[in-house]
Structure formats: structure tokens, C-alpha cells
Symmetry: C2
């Protein structure tokens, strides 16, 4: 997700190294130490403005969260949410890096769950490899997740969801739960992303799945 | 699917034993002989008024089709379609039996593909065992299909489709193709059922999947 160029964003990010971690590769294998507890770690690849990951962190204080987002101009909004929250959000960290490099930041088994929300649909067939549920990415996530680790994935994009169902099945993963209209029967634990609210208000269905690695 | 009671239906069915096979258990293992060729055999469990299976048989003369439907009052419409077709539909037979007993009518490997269209959603959790994509049915279909045999399934019912995706995944089957709005991009080979046309005209999405046994 891109937003307007914000020249002051980099400065604000640098001023808060306890929230937006400047050299996350140094914490590879040491995230429990960083959080100061042995709670599970859930990460979101492409956390955008951070509404989902900040909401999840506040709703679930016994889980540690990391939001990964490449662009200063959007991660800055997540940082501002933390700064505006009284007491901060102690169980949340942000990484301003490319999620494709997650192997550099996490050991195998160090991440307990992966969230993917409203990732770029890349609708052209020749761009299928860029979809975050392409087998190359499923293989990447497996390098940091435990045996039987889970991916929780939401999107408004029908084509991406159709593709993801077959890609995940073809990878040998198990579909644990599927919703083809999340807001027809919204679970109480659901935290909406910015996109989700926008598309829900337009009356478009939101698709969601929980998929589990088979080994 | 039930329809009005039609006292004349049983009589018309009995008058056409070459179309609605009276004792299909006698043809178990001998369907190629019955059709007089070695073409693939595709069957539909719950063929209702037969619009899908008669349409498929007419569109694909090199495939043999069998429609299975329990109720006289609806299978009669399929029979009438055959009778009204000039030259009949030589590659189609109808069975007025319960599809749950298909093991009595087909040998293992005798059926090449199974169609399920708009089957009863049985929305209550306590009725999940009656859904035609429940594991007990997936296990039944496997007794007549070959290794890597396929089920092609369409429905307008979101809950049934969500359930079916997880049930089929849990059974170890592979999702080959999924459409979450078949008519947004209708394939030229699609043959509509009666229900499908009705729901499509209401603007409701039709869900479709092709699923393959893994062994």
C-alpha cells in the first residue's frame, strides 16, 4: 500500500527504535528476549497502516505481534497509533522491511502464525508469482513457521482467493476454515483492516481462510 | 428435489426401461456393454429434472452419462426431455434409485467423474452428515471412481460450499479449480441446471469446484 510521500516519516521512525526495529536481523532467534516473555508470536506480512495488527495486539495482550511493511509512508500510521495509545502497545513491534526477506529476521519455529490481509491481487497470469499465496511464498513462510503452522488470509479479491484456494491445496496444505462472506456472520474476534471496512461498506463480500501446513 | 405427485409418472417410467433402467444392479460392471462403447462414464448424483445431465449428454456425445434421482416426480422430466429429443439421447441413462447405494450399481473404476449440483445444503450442524460432501459420501464416491478421480460440484449455497472446501481438503483431496462466481466469467462449456438459472437471474453467485482424489 502506498500513500503520499511523507518526508518527516523517516525521522519519526528513527526516533522510535523500540517500536520500529532498526536492525531486525540482530534479533533473529531472540524475539522472546526482545518482548521479555515466551508468548506466541504472530506476524503480518504487509501490515499497511497497521489497523489490523495494532487492533489484534490490543485485543490479545498475551500474544506478541510483529507487523511487516516496506513503505515509510504507511508504516508511519501504525507507529502513530502506538504513540497515541496510552501506555503504548508493549506486545507489538514493527519492521520496515520487505517481508520476502523474513528468513533474515526469524528462525524456523520462531513465528507461530502468519497473517496475510488484502495483499496485492496481481490479476495478470504472468504476475502469478508475485501473489503472496504463490507456492514460492508458501515455501518461504514455512521456513519460519512450526510444523502444522497456520496462515490466516483475508481478501476482498475474488480472483486472488480462488487462486489461493487451489495454490494452498496444491501445496499440500489443509483448509481448516473458509468464509466466503465474513461479514454475513462476523466472528466477534474479527479485527477489520482499512480495506476491509471500505469494501464491506460497499457490500462486497470479504473472503477468509485458515490454512495449515501439513508437515 | 420434490415436485407435485404425478400418478402417471411411474407408468411412463416403466414404459421406457431402455432409458430409466429398471434393475441397474444387473448392469454393475457392464455399463460399457449397455452403452455399446468404451467411452468414459460420468454420473450425476441427484440429477433432479435432468437439465444438466441431458444438456451434458447432448453436448458431449463421446461421453456416457448416467443421472441418478430418487423421485419419480422429477426424474420424469428428464425422461420427457429424452423422449422429446429427435433420435433420443443414446449416451444417457437414468437411474431411479438412491445415490447412496451407488456401490450396488457401479464397480470400482467404472465411473470416471462424479457431478454434484445444487445438492441439499442441510444447514443445521446436526445434519452435516447428510451433506453430499461429508466425508462418508466422499468415501462412497471413491468406491466407484478411479485413482485421481474427480468430483465437479456446483451450488448457490455459501454455507454448503464453505463446508465442502474444508471437508474435501480434510479428506486429503486436491482442489483443482475453484470459482466463487461462475457467471461472472462463465466458461463456454458450462451447462446450467434449473436452480442455477434461477439463482443466477437473482444475481446470486454460483460456486463451483473441481476436486480430485489423491489416491
Amino acid at each position: 500500500m502506498r500513500a503520499r510521500y511523507k518526508p518527516w516519516a523517516a525521522e519519526l521512525i528513527e526516533a522510535h527504535p523500540g517500536i520500529v526495529i532498526p536492525e531486525p536481523e540482530k534479533l533473529k532467534g531472540r524475539w522472546q528476549e526482545e518482548f521479555g516473555n515466551a508468548n506466541p508470536l504472530h506476524i503480518e506480512a504487509g501490515s499497511g497502516k497497521g489497523r489490523f495488527i495494532t487492533g489484534m495486539a490490543q485485543a490479545n495482550p498475551d500474544i506478541n505481534y510483529i507487523g511487516i511493511e516496506l513503505f515509510d509512508s504507511v508504516i508511519i500510521t501504525a507507529l502513530q497509533t502506538v504513540l497515541e495509545t496510552e501506555g503504548g502497545i508493549p506486545n507489538l513491534r514493527l519492521l520496515r522491511v520487505n517481508a520476502q526477506e523474513m528468513e533474515s529476521f526469524f528462525e524456523k519455529n520462531e513465528v507461530d502464525r502468519m497473517y496475510l490481509n488484502f495483499s496485492d491481487p496481481w490479476p495478470k497470469t504472468r504476475h502469478a508469482k508475485r501473489r503472496l499465496t504463490h507456492e514460492s511464498f508458501l515455501s518461504l513462510y514455512e521456513t519460519v513457521l512450526p510444523k502444522n503452522g497456520e496462515i490466516h488470509f483475508k481478501t476482498d479479491n475474488r480472483g486472488l482467493f480462488e487462486y489461493s484456494l487451489t495454490s494452498i491445496s496444491d501445496y499440500g496444505m489443509l483448509l481448516k476454515d473458509v468464509s466466503l462472506d465474513l461479514h454475513a456472520n462476523e466472528p466477534e474476534w474479527n479485527i477489520m483492516t482499512e480495506y476491509e471496512e471500505k469494501f464491506m461498506k460497499k457490500g462486497q463480500p470479504i473472503y477468509r481462510m485458515e490454512a495449515q501446513y501439513n508437515s
